[in-house]
Symmetry: C2
Subunit: 399 residues, 2 copies
């Protein structure tokens, strides 16, 4: 039997990096490669309480089909929280619940990309966004991410090009770099969007995970949506501040764009799980989500400090760290080292990371790696960094 | 702000029928238009028990990211149940959990349809499948559905055409007609698939909802997958036999096709909700799903009999009923009546149905309607049919 698959799916090659990373699930490996939240922080008991309260109401509609837009109360809660937090007016009919942020990437790709349209991406950028958009056969253009955000000169020139359809970016604690746009860069990006009449898909899974660190002022994490609401579709997620397994994210969008995304979502999966939408709504209206987020922030801040200290201790002279004060990742440059070769040695030494090339559209970042600090205990973080040092020594001995 | 949406989403017009049906949510309307399971049958107490057992194990992985393919135990359970029920060998690595059957339609469209490929559909066919496939810009071809299944002469000729890419069909208690393929037609379809080397997407949400009726032999509901496993991607669903709100369906596919669907699903939503997968697995391994399905079958059989009797009593001479012995719908022809006009009158009389045109790719079935019998109580069914009669009288008086 010959299967006549579509051109778009046939063009996707199995990822070499993904194949290598499959090796890293062995229990003896300390993996900095993942992007998993710390499972010990999942509010198991609170979810159980919310669940029982929900069951005790004996409301069968929690099991029934629901609307594509999602749970009315949850949409209202999201709109109010976003409006209050970010000092911008959003109504609940601008909110749609999605089956995780990844679905928002897919739906936005579907409503915006015609084949050969150009999607403007940060360099480096999030792997999952590349995967989602590729299904709609765009070209990609890169704009370099600097320590204070996008290279805005390059951004303006790129967005002015006729075929540039939209910009996808992660202004807060970016994946993979951990970098955050400055206040000035946020305003410049908003101005350029308005000036060129183009749209941004703003991905913000990590914005709430801001670490308060001694002697440092907190970065501005206000969404670019708040600066240019007609020009931004904003993506939020409960995966990093609550639990990822529920697959609950949301979008806030200008109404014409939301209307198209609703049509696309209805064709894609009718609606998001109604049971966990009700369960989440029960949780947020009876528990203190902000207190829970504070706990996550403190825990992650401690883990990040531990990783930075371990890197300074064991790898200090050999690497460059990019500054971050939130999120889940540290971006590390190992000047002059072929990072894919280092990964092969590292796996032999029972430690893993994601090589920089995974986040590049053009094969760049060949001496960078992304390290995750959220899913491991502190002793594992230190031991993993020691193994990285051993891997680097072995790599250099082989050169 | 001008939004530059993709060609495919701009081509989708708001549905006139959908707009009309929005009027039918008023509480005074008895709606035969829906496709909702009876919520009183949702196993609320059993799900609560399963949920508490799951929480008590204190396993945080129920909240964590999981694999795109889905819950290993659930996939194993589905493979074994399908193999045992249908006497065909399926392994768990041929099974993927999806976010409801609708997602399987979307993913299959994505991996199979290039623009201008022809998708072969039953006439009439399921509206949601048309919506899902349209996103990938195919042509459509229709093959007439007869009382014993497809017109197989027309099916052979159509599948032999070069541009016919795959066939989408619902062999059991079809939506909208309630019709079921005969044993002979199943074999003919399987033979034609093998002879033409083409693939079928077999949608089977209703197959388990078979009514045993006095004096009638039960129809054959064995999947066509069992007759031609290399040529069929099979879609199953928990929405009609458990609860729809969990958005849990599955596909069974030849391994090359499943591999492509996994890539497409990863880009679309990473994976299906891990929490409800674990909850469903807990339920099916500690409760008797078959006993629950028997209860649904008996309840729906009674409701269907009630509707048929009411139609025979009040509309007997004016309509033709198509035979069905399972599922959720009755397909009714009202010869010579313009069904869209009848719908307008019916809504004034506080009763609603879906007009036949909604299920046609070519504007056909203008004197047919689909009636749902699962979501109403028997007294509502009788009252609704009386209102249909009043609407028909008023319609005729205006001609």
């Amino acid at each position: 039997m010959q299967y006549q698959f579509s051109e778009v799916i046939n063009e996707l090659k199995p990822s070499f990096i993904r194949e290598i990373l499959k090796l890293t699930v062995k229990p003896e490996i300390i993996s900095f490669a993942g992007g998993l939240p710390d499972p010990s922080l999942f509010p198991h008991q609170s979810i159980k309480e919310a669940s029982n309260a929900m069951f005790d109401r004996n409301d069968r509609s929690i099991f029934q089909y629901t609307t594509t837009e999602g749970h009315a109360g949850l949409r209202e809660w999201i709109a109010k929280r976003f409006s209050d937090t970010h000092n911008v007016e959003v109504s609940s009919d601008q909110v749609m619940i999605v089956s995780g942020s990844q679905q928002a990437l897919d739906l936005f790709g579907k409503i915006y990309i015609d084949p050969q349209d150009a999607v403007v991406m940060e360099a480096p950028t999030y792997l999952g966004a590349i995967q989602a958009f590729r299904m709609y056969q765009p070209k990609f253009k890169e704009v370099e991410l600097q320590e204070d955000g996008l290279d805005t000169d390059q951004f303006l020139a790129t967005m002015q090009e006729e075929d540039s359809k939209f910009f996808y970016g992660i202004p807060n604690f970016q994946n993979p770099t951990g970098l955050t746009y400055s206040t000035q860069k946020r305003q410049q990006v908003a101005d350029i969007l308005q000036q060129t009449g183009k749209i941004m898909l703003e991905d913000d899974p990590y914005g709430a995970l801001l670490f308060e660190e001694e002697g440092q002022s907190s970065p501005d994490t206000r969404p670019i949506y708040a600066l240019a609401p007609d020009n931004v579709v904003y993506m939020g997620s409960f995966s990093k501040v609550f639990v990822p397994g529920f697959r609950l994210g949301w979008v806030i969008a200008p109404k014409p764009a939301l209307a198209k995304m609703i049509i696309a979502k209805q064709a894609a999966d009718l609606h998001t799980n109604s049971f966990v939408q009700e369960l989440l709504y029960e949780y947020v209206t009876t528990h203190d989500l902000d207190a829970h987020i504070d706990l996550i922030r403190q825990t992650y801040a401690t883990k990040k400090a531990c990783m930075v200290q371990a890197i300074n201790t064991y790898l200090g002279d050999e690497v460059e760290l990019f500054p971050t004060s939130g999120g889940m990742f540290i971006w590390v440059r190992v000047p002059g080292v072929a990072i894919m070769d280092l990964l092969t040695v590292a796996i032999e030494k029972n430690v893993a990371f994601v090589p920089g090339e995974a986040f590049s559209l053009t094969g760049g970042y060949t001496d960078h790696m992304r390290l995750n600090f959220t899913s491991l205990e502190e002793d594992q973080i230190v031991e993993g960094v020691k193994r990285l040092k051993a891997a680097l020594d072995a790599y250099r001995a082989n050169q």
